[in-house]
């Protein structure tokens, strides 16, 4: 596998380094560069970033606050996955006390508790942190749309607008896109503005959930084998 390439001096990809050489301090600069790559190319690797945070944990004097901040913004963008917490578990408390990390922790708190209005207000105040990472806004909007689709079958336009922080023309455009690509439907409700019909899934329509409760696992049946024989 990755190992065999050593002799031919083919450069490792960062993913290979993380897979085969993850407890090696020498890969730290590669991983730092890789964080910047992820930011500019709008890609994401939790494995690689956790690996880097681990190396920082082993040698705190090598830690770069700027890189850590980028990792955390990327982790926020991975919501609803718990990546932000996973990163915080590895970052020493005194580092978390830095102003920019405090802000990110507040942002995460708003997302974790469904308070999108406060989230967008706070994000607007901290542009310098979040705007350094392209795709931030879209990623959070995607997350908001995800939580809404777990929660609602039909949602008032105003509630949607607040959660994804869009209004007027840009919201119309967003809706147009969702109607075309994600099965959303726009309904006029009686005099109260638009109502958006979100596609049914097993979470906003639990009747769709498959029912596996009626089956009996084999290991239970085996209990009566001696009797049957």
């Amino acid at each position: 596998m990755g190992r065999e390439k050593e002799t031919t001096k083919v450069a490792y990809t960062v993913e290979q380094l993380v897979a085969f050489n993850r407890y090696n301090p020498d890969i730290l600069p590669d991983l730092e560069n890789y964080v910047n790559d992820q930011v500019s190319s709008q890609t994401y690797s939790l494995e690689a970033n956790l690996c880097l945070l681990r190396l920082y944990q082993f040698e705190p004097e090598k830690m770069s606050s700027q890189i850590v901040a980028r990792i955390l913004v990327k982790a926020l963008m991975a919501m609803p996955a718990p990546d932000f917490s996973l990163c915080l578990f590895l970052i020493p408390e005194r580092v978390q006390m830095e102003e920019q990390f405090k802000t990110l922790i507040v942002l995460s708190h708003y997302l974790e508790t469904g308070r999108f209005r406060q989230f967008w207000d706070e994000a607007a105040k901290s542009r310098h942190i979040v705007e350094a990472v392209p795709g931030f806004e879209q990623a959070i909007q995607r997350h908001a749309a995800h939580v809404l689709s777990l929660t609602y079958q039909n949602i008032p336009r105003t509630v949607l607008a607040e959660a994804i922080n869009m209004e007027g023309l840009s919201l119309d455009k967003f809706l147009e896109h969702q109607v075309a690509n994600s099965g959303w439907v726009i309904e006029k409700s009686q005099g109260r503005g638009q109502l958006i019909v979100l596609p049914r899934n097993e979470f906003n329509d639990p009747a769709l959930k498959k029912n596996a409760a009626d089956s009996v696992p084999l290991e239970h049946i085996t209990r009566i084998f001696p009797i049957l024989s």
Partner: protein
């Protein structure tokens, strides 16, 4: 020679015992153990390791170390590997009964290095009991954790200790520890072996890891247990995602070599469950805790004589505390077996009722149970040797506790919502908001929090619902869907069939005059 005698006498006086005195029983112990190892008699090795070693320790070495390896070496042909194994046990006994000095901690690290290097170079042809191999990995990780705790208490270190710490900065270095475990996993090719076994090309689990074709089981089984060791080290570091990943090659939904040793079984599930708890995958944690607690309940009587009985009981209690936490955050008691549930109610029933509230007292209990049941987190980095010297042994624990309580706080309103949802099939947002004494927009955020927190994301990004009571909102009406506890008729009938058979058998046995 005379000089040496004098030195030895002096040493004896200082220590209060003679490290080089070998009682006859110890001589016989090493001679026999050595012979059984050479003859690959796993059964006898296991007997000597499990019972003779304990008996001798209890009788002769209650509060002193075993005789030094130099004193016994000539009884075993100065066999290099045997001496390494003897020293490993020697240190293990020392750690268990006495307080190791820094020098001894460093020496024990050196001994592990030599031992693992010998194993990794494949020159070991022994067949050792799984119990022993597990104990090696377990002890290795334990001594690493113990060293980190010890090193982090900088305040009371003597100048001599600090000098030693600086000089031997590679001892119990976190890279070294992780790389040894990783090397054992890779060199043993255990992951490939387990893969091939699934296709029927190899036997490992079926033989409990033993090699009946004349080969050695040592590297393979050490590699296998090292995956559990890696899970544990990563949990100690707070890296739960990577920890679970390290365990992936072992299918814990089935029996395996990890269940062949009770200590390994418990360590695996305890850390796996804890990691899932921290990842908010409560249902997975509940399921695994339930299984192992039931297993311990049914089998603990067989372990009463084991040297690990105390440990088993301690972990048992800790896992009940973790289960109480999981069920308070995710009330899915139908996942829990009746036996386990009644134990749980007995131990934590009252506390769990209080955890359902969301006042300071509830958080005090979350704090108490977490602190009691969590792993002994470590700070892996070397201390700063600059004055003033500070203790940092609590830092890692405090961080994990703080983040956990933060999570519990984010979920504090959810048990309130759940209570209301349980009694309605539909309710308007306005009405529920007034019951909960919040405004409508706030209620919407609480409902979204409920959805977000009850829907776990696994490592593939797949979403699963952990909710017992679920709902959806249609415009401004909430529709409640209670997932009905599946009536397990099948299970019930199977139980009754077995019961009836028992009664019939009993009746058959009665002789009527």
């Amino acid at each position: 020679m005379a000089n040496q005698d004098f030195e030895e006498r002096q040493q004896t006086q200082e220590l209060g015992y003679d490290p080089n005195f070998v009682p006859d029983s110890v001589k016989s112990f090493v001679v026999h153990l050595y012979r059984h190892i050479r003859e690959k008699n796993v059964y006898e090795i296991h007997q000597m390791y499990e019972s003779s070693f304990q008996t001798l320790s209890e009788r002769l070495f209650k509060d002193t170390p075993w005789p030094s390896v130099d004193a016994v070496a000539h009884y075993v042909d100065n066999d290099h590997v045997f001496c390494l194994l003897y020293r490993e046990m020697w240190f293990r006994h020392l750690y268990a009964r006495l307080t190791p000095t820094l020098r001894q901690r460093i020496d024990s690290w050196d001994n592990y290095c030599s031992l693992f290097q010998v194993v990794l170079h494949g020159v070991v042809n022994m067949q050792l009991p799984n119990q022993w191999l597990w104990d090696m990995v377990d002890e290795f990780v334990y001594q690493f954790q113990s060293f980190c705790q010890y090193r982090a208490k900088m305040k009371n270190k003597t100048e001599q200790e600090i000098a030693l710490l600086r000089q031997f900065d590679q001892a119990w270095n976190v890279y070294g520890v992780l790389n040894f475990l990783q090397a054992l996993v890779e060199k043993s090719t255990i992951i490939q072996i387990l893969d091939q076994e699934k296709e029927g090309l190899e036997q490992f689990t079926a033989t409990d890891g033993y090699d009946y074709n004349g080969g050695s089981n040592v590297l393979k089984v050490l590699g296998y247990f090292s995956m559990v060791g890696l899970l544990r080290v990563h949990c100690l570091l707070g890296d739960y995602h990577t920890g679970i990943k390290c365990l992936l090659p072992i299918d814990i939904s089935q029996q395996g070599v990890y269940t062949s040793v009770i200590g390994s079984h418990i360590t695996t599930i305890y850390h796996y469950g804890f990691a899932n708890l921290m990842l908010r995958r409560y249902v997975e944690a509940i399921r695994e805790f339930n299984k192992i607690l039931l297993y311990i309940f049914k089998t603990k009587q067989y372990h009463q004589k084991s040297s690990q009985y105390e440990q088993i009981l301690k972990k048992n209690e800790q896992m009940y505390a973790l289960l109480a936490i999981c069920l308070s955050l995710c009330p899915q008691s139908r996942l829990v077996d009746e036996t386990v549930n009644s134990q749980l109610r007995e131990k934590y029933g009252e506390k769990m009722a209080r955890m359902q509230r969301y006042d300071d007292e509830a958080f005090a209990i979350y704090d108490e149970l977490f602190s009691y049941a969590c792993p002994k987190f470590i700070t892996p980095s070397a201390p700063s040797f600059e004055e003033p010297l500070v203790n940092y042994n609590q830092d890692a624990y405090r961080l994990q506790l703080k983040l956990f309580l933060y999570e519990a706080k984010q979920q504090q309103l959810l048990s309130g919502v759940r209570t209301f949802l349980k009694v309605y099939s539909t309710i308007s947002l306005a009405k529920l908001a007034s019951y909960m004494e919040v405004d409508e927009p706030t209620l919407r955020t609480i409902l979204m929090t409920y959805k977000h927190k009850t829907h776990a994301v696994d490592s593939d990004g797949k979403i699963t619902s952990n909710a017992d009571v679920d709902f959806y909102i249609d415009d401004d009406t909430i529709h409640v869907v209670e997932s009905k506890p599946a009536k397990r008729y099948g299970d019930y009938f199977l139980r009754q069939i077995v019961k009836l058979e028992g009664v019939i058998n009993e009746m058959d046995g009665i002789k009527l005059d």
